[in-house]
Assembly symmetry: C2
Homo-oligomer: 145 residues x 2
């Protein structure tokens, strides 16, 4: 497995160990992780810290030129909010762990020229499958349903 | 002027007084403000706390049923990220102070059934006009340009 997706999975597991929703993400620039994050809805009572948003926040303030040469790795297909952040910052490529348990705004991203790669990684799928089975209400809250 | 847009403008001014980008937002449910926020890029070194995102974060974790009966007020047309958050949570109505200085994802929001009202309020326009003239690089950073 790609080391960066592995790092995103480690973030997801870290979130799970904290009692949170197991979704992780890393932002990679010039072959280095510049931001790593995970969903913090439970841990921080946050409505906006999805995994991808947390990775962007941990990366801090960056000029557009950095985002435009970066790749975002996420264990789960990005929702509308995270996809919007990808579009805002012009991140050209997103590597997605899986979209079997949740299909995000992949069609919108592709229509705007974002290069997506979906791995359908069994580890990512299992993390979410088990979480959703155990915590359906929390999951629905996270995706606004 | 609508009291809620006035509250959003007060948030924008508060942000400006802190040395930040003057964009404010409030989330209104059943006639009451349940979240008020402003852009915190400068103040917190944040890449994700736009005014609307901050208002959602200040409102805290909410069930989908609350968002779906809420109205979001924002002094400026919402960018891709903030529009994505509006779509994620199914907020049905957004009142926008102005879209002269920046046009956000209004077409996308309308195409998904979100009801938008654009006030073209002179106070909102002046706040952004003056800010962008004084801080073009900071503004470009905030919109990923």
């Amino acid at each position: 497995m790609d080391n960066f997706m592995q790092a995103a999975i480690e973030q997801a597991r870290l979130g799970m160990a904290e009692g949170g929703i197991p979704i992780g993400s890393v932002l990679v620039h010039e072959g280095k992780i510049i931001g790593a994050g995970h969903n913090r809805r439970v841990q921080q009572g946050s409505a906006i810290l999805h995994g991808e948003m947390d990775a962007l926040e941990q990366a801090g303030r960056l000029p557009a030129s950095v985002y435009r040469e970066s790749v975002l790795y996420t264990t789960l297909s990005p929702c509308s909010m995270c996809s919007g952040a990808i579009l805002l910052y012009g991140i050209p490529k997103v590597i997605i762990g899986e979209n079997k348990t949740f299909m995000g705004e992949e069609a919108l991203l592709r229509s705007r020229g974002v290069n997506l790669e979906v791995l359908q990684d069994p580890t990512c799928i299992n993390l979410m499958d088990e979480f959703i089975t155990r915590n359906p209400e929390l999951w629905n809250e996270d995706i606004g349903e």
